[in-house]
């Protein structure tokens, strides 16, 4: 009897329809897959055009696949140390080869020609690229992989920052920087360090005014003083030495004094020797930029090496750069020996270092890259400072009620509306306000940067406000109850906690600024300039402008090859910049 009633009860539950939920789920899945697929196809074709992969001989691809890609994948597998992952990787690589070849041939035979793609390339893009991504992810979880990627990341990142610095010094007066650093920053730092060491709060408080006075003094001295050390010495004194000292301090904090000396000293010595004497002793490289790159890549690498050896895990991962360079060299050697035709890639050393030209093969992006880097640096600083200041004021300092509260709300609504104003309108504003009224000139870096800063300011403000608002009120009250002033609470509790969120918003906004073309056209930025800008008020171009100009050229070589190369360069710089910022943010999130 009991069982009977039980079944009766269970039958009585009935069913609840989930049809709409399931339809919704698959529709959203389909939409996102469609979006990603469209983007992937676009990127694949841009890559093929930029590197001229369509005309590449399969042998060339095979050579580098064997010397570079396979060892790298093997390294990832070694690091992951997981039988299951290895099995999966081998299955996908092998099975994928057969499947792609079969499907590709079938489509070519029965449906029609697929333009600028052969089955080898299809295999690379459809199977090898995702597999590499997966294995990098899995490999980074093992110690050797983490160490190897950390090392390569520091090498590339340091070098990139060094190059960015050298680009910035094209327009910023390094002699003024030298004076400001020597007269302002160094004394200020000494006062601060002395205060910390001797527990003297007067010295610590004096540090900032001392620096400011020194910087102001530097501006005056700049006009008076006539002789200066060479640029190489200036970089050595103002950038390489402090970076090396910072690295040494980091290592010293972990323990060893000798290691600290080595970590700071060795890269510094190397940078100094190459920078000062590199050309003279026939190294082929030298000068201020080499010094910057070596110092900025060398010091983080040295500090990292010390940590890796200190921890003693995953030391084998340090071989990754050797593996990569060795693989590339071996590939080049094989190609050379057997006379395999190399692809005529549009992205090349000359493309990155030469000025634009009428001839597609000689065309370069250098002045536009420099322009973009300078503009982005200025926009980042301007919009970050203004955005954070505005959002802190709106969130922490204004009252919620009364007249002030109403004004705040009005301001708030207007900022939200400004975020929706088309960029052409901002271009007009920049033209009228900065170029004409304030006389910063048409299409100069200052005008362009100010216009772009205004353009992304609403986005920065709104996201920074969001981040500040998400800091729990408990923390503010806790700090207030300790007798902190509002400024102390903001500086010590709210901003550190909101910083990752603020950074995220700024990164997204900067991504928009770097790709803008319309406001640049409005303020009169040049589509093409033939030499890198030498001051903030010289004629500027930016990467999107140059790419836009090329896209209108009559020759097909420009429209397919050079434009694609420009897009790849733009994307690489954008992704690199965002990646660095995201890494910094993650570190800040973990670290605080």
């Amino acid at each position: 009897m009991a069982t009977d009633t039980d079944t009766a009860r269970i039958e009585g539950f009935g069913e609840v329809s989930r049809v709409r939920g399931i339809i919704f789920e698959y529709l959203s899945l389909g939409a996102s897959v469609l979006g990603i697929f469209a983007l992937a196809v676009l990127l694949v074709y841009v890559t093929i055009d930029a590197f001229d992969l369509a005309g590449t001989s399969p042998l060339w691809l095979l050579t580098y696949f064997v010397t570079l890609v396979v060892p790298f994948l093997a390294f990832c597998l070694y690091s992951a140390r997981d039988r299951e992952v290895t099995r999966r990787a081998v299955t996908v690589a092998g099975g994928g080869l057969v499947a792609v070849a079969a499907v590709f041939t079938a489509i070519e035979t029965f449906v029609g020609q697929i333009p600028r793609l052969n089955w080898q390339l299809a295999y690379l893009f459809v199977v090898v690229a995702p597999l590499t991504g997966y294995l990098v992810y899995m490999g980074a979880r093992g110690r050797p992989g983490a160490v190897g990627f950390g090392l390569v990341g520091r090498l590339i990142g340091g070098a990139a920052i060094g190059l960015a610095f050298s680009v910035l010094f094209l327009v910023f007066d390094e002699r003024l920087w030298f004076l400001a650093y020597t007269l302002g920053i160094v004394p200020g730092l000494f006062a601060y360090a002395y205060g910390q060491l001797r527990n003297s709060s007067t010295a610590v408080t004096a540090a900032l005014p001392v620096s400011l006075v020194g910087v102001v003094l530097a501006v005056f001295v700049r006009d008076v003083l006539r002789t200066y050390p060479t640029t190489t010495f200036i970089y050595l004194w103002t950038l390489a030495i402090p970076i090396a000292a910072a690295g040494a301090l980091v290592v010293n904090a972990r323990g060893s004094r000798t290691a600290a000396l080595a970590a700071g000293g060795v890269p510094l010595a190397l940078a100094a020797v190459v920078g000062l004497f590199g050309r003279a002793i026939g190294l082929g490289v030298g000068g201020p930029n080499a010094l910057l790159v070596i110092a900025l890549a060398g010091v983080p690498v040295a500090v990292y090496l010390h940590r890796v050896f200190d921890v003693g895990e995953g030391v084998t991962g340090l071989g990754l750069p050797v593996l990569l360079v060795g693989g590339a060299l071996a590939g080049a050697l094989v190609v050379e020996t057997f006379g395999i035709p190399t692809p005529n890639s549009w992205v090349s050393g000359t493309f990155l270092t030469e000025a634009p030209s009428r001839n597609a093969r000689d065309a370069g992006l250098y002045p536009a890259i420099v322009g973009s880097v300078i503009i982005i640096a200025m926009v980042a600083v301007l919009s970050f400072v203004l955005g954070v200041a505005t959002s802190v004021f709106l969130e922490e300092y204004t009252a919620d009620s009364g007249v002030v509260g109403a004004l705040t709300r009005l301001l708030q609504i207007n900022i939200a509306n400004l975020a929706a104003v088309p960029s052409v309108v901002y271009g007009l504003l920049g033209l009228g306000l900065f170029a004409n009224l304030l006389g910063f000139g048409f299409g100069t870096a200052v005008t362009v940067s100010l216009t772009l800063s205004l353009l992304i300011l609403p986005i920065t403000i709104i996201s920074a406000q969001e981040a500040i608002r998400s800091v729990p009120d408990d923390l503010r009250r806790g700090s207030d109850a300790m007798g902190a002033t509002r400024w102390q609470t903001t500086k010590n509790v709210v901003l550190p906690e909101a910083f990752p969120g603020i950074l995220t918003g700024t990164i997204l906004a900067l991504g928009r600024a770097i790709g803008e073309t319309a406001p640049l056209i409005m303020v009169g930025a040049a589509t093409t300039v033939f030499s890198a800008p030498s001051s903030l008020f010289s004629k500027f171009s930016a990467m999107p402008m140059q790419i836009y100009a090329w896209a209108n050229f009559p020759q097909a070589e420009f429209r397919y090859g050079v434009v694609a190369a420009g897009v790849i360069t733009l994307l690489t710089i954008l992704v690199g910049m965002n990646g660095t910022a995201i890494l910094l943010r993650n570190r800040a999130e973990r670290g605080s």
């Binding site: 527990n199 003297s200 923390l475 806790g478 700090s479 109850a481 300790m482 007798g483 010590n492």
Partner: protein
């Protein structure tokens, strides 16, 4: 006194009568109440907009004693606590009439800087709210913002010892304060509050978000703190008030101070019938 034991004991009896429990009251080994006053309220009225939160309260809180404020929710005891260090200033609709004297001075006088005032009065909140910084930086926070010139590390160690947390965290001073358990976090907040050496410590239901074991540790700690500081604690837990406080103030609805006396007196023989009803759980 062994807190864990009395905790279990009283918890089982909580439902019947509190008055008849054999909880020791006011048993802190401190002799007769000090006659020096740390904080005094005179004719204090507090309004939130049109609503009156505190109704004409006058009371004197003795120095170096634990004073408990009890009463049903919304009776104004937390509001009263926040008037002492002017944390109510943060609430825009809040209006205060009357005097709150601290160190012989009305804290609502025009020449009193609330920020300076709060540096002399520590506060511990209901929910542990350590900053997302290292344990060391949490404790040193007050010292840092006040521009403390002495040996910070020494003061951090002293404060952590004072908050009975030193032995548990001495090897991880650089790890985040958020990695600690709830009870440890609250003790960290206490260490943070006592580091700048305030005169009074205000506690707003400091154990209500903690488990009984952690709560009993905090109670022991409050006992020790009263040696050096004046402690004013808001609590919903009647046994807690009975166990740790020397003086108890009972607030009832409408923000009226109904009875204020030695804890023993309040819990054993209250003057007012309403107070007896409240602490025996007949209403509230």
């Amino acid at each position: 006194m062994s807190n864990t034991e009395s905790e279990t004991q009283t918890e089982t009896e909580a439902s019947d009568s509190l008055i008849t429990t054999d909880v020791e009251t006011g048993s802190n080994g401190r002799s007769a109440p000090s006659n020096r006053t740390a904080v005094a309220a005179r004719d204090l009225n507090v309004f939130y907009g049109d609503e009156q939160a505190i109704d004409d309260v006058t009371m004197e809180i003795p120095e170096n004693r634990v004073t408990a404020l009890i009463g049903p929710s919304g009776c104004g005891k937390s509001t009263f606590l926040r008037t002492i260090n002017r944390m109510n200033d943060m609430i825009e609709v809040c209006r205060v009439e009357g005097d709150v004297e601290f160190g012989g001075k009305n804290v609502y006088d025009d020449d009193v800087d609330p920020v300076a005032l709060r540096r002399k009065i520590g506060m511990v909140f209901q929910k542990p709210n350590p900053f997302p910084k290292s344990i060391r930086d949490n404790v040193a926070y007050g010292l840092k913002i006040q521009g403390f010139d002495g040996d910070v590390d020494e003061r951090v160690e002293e404060s952590l010892k004072g908050a009975a947390l030193w032995d548990e965290v001495k090897d991880q001073l650089d790890s985040s304060g958020l990695d600690l358990s709830g009870g440890q976090q609250q003790r960290l907040c206490i260490a943070r509050a006592i580091a700048p050496d305030p005169e009074v410590i205000l506690m707003d239901e400091p154990t209500s978000a903690l488990d009984p074991v952690a709560a009993s540790k905090i109670e022991d700690l409050i006992d020790d703190l009263a040696e050096e500081y004046t402690v004013i604690i808001v609590t919903h837990n009647m046994q807690q008030a009975a166990r740790i406080s020397d003086r108890t103030a009972v607030f009832l609805t409408g923000g009226r101070l109904v009875e204020y006396d030695d804890t023993t007196k309040i819990f054993e023989d209250p003057e007012e019938q309403r107070v007896e009803d409240y602490i025996t759980g007949k209403f509230g």
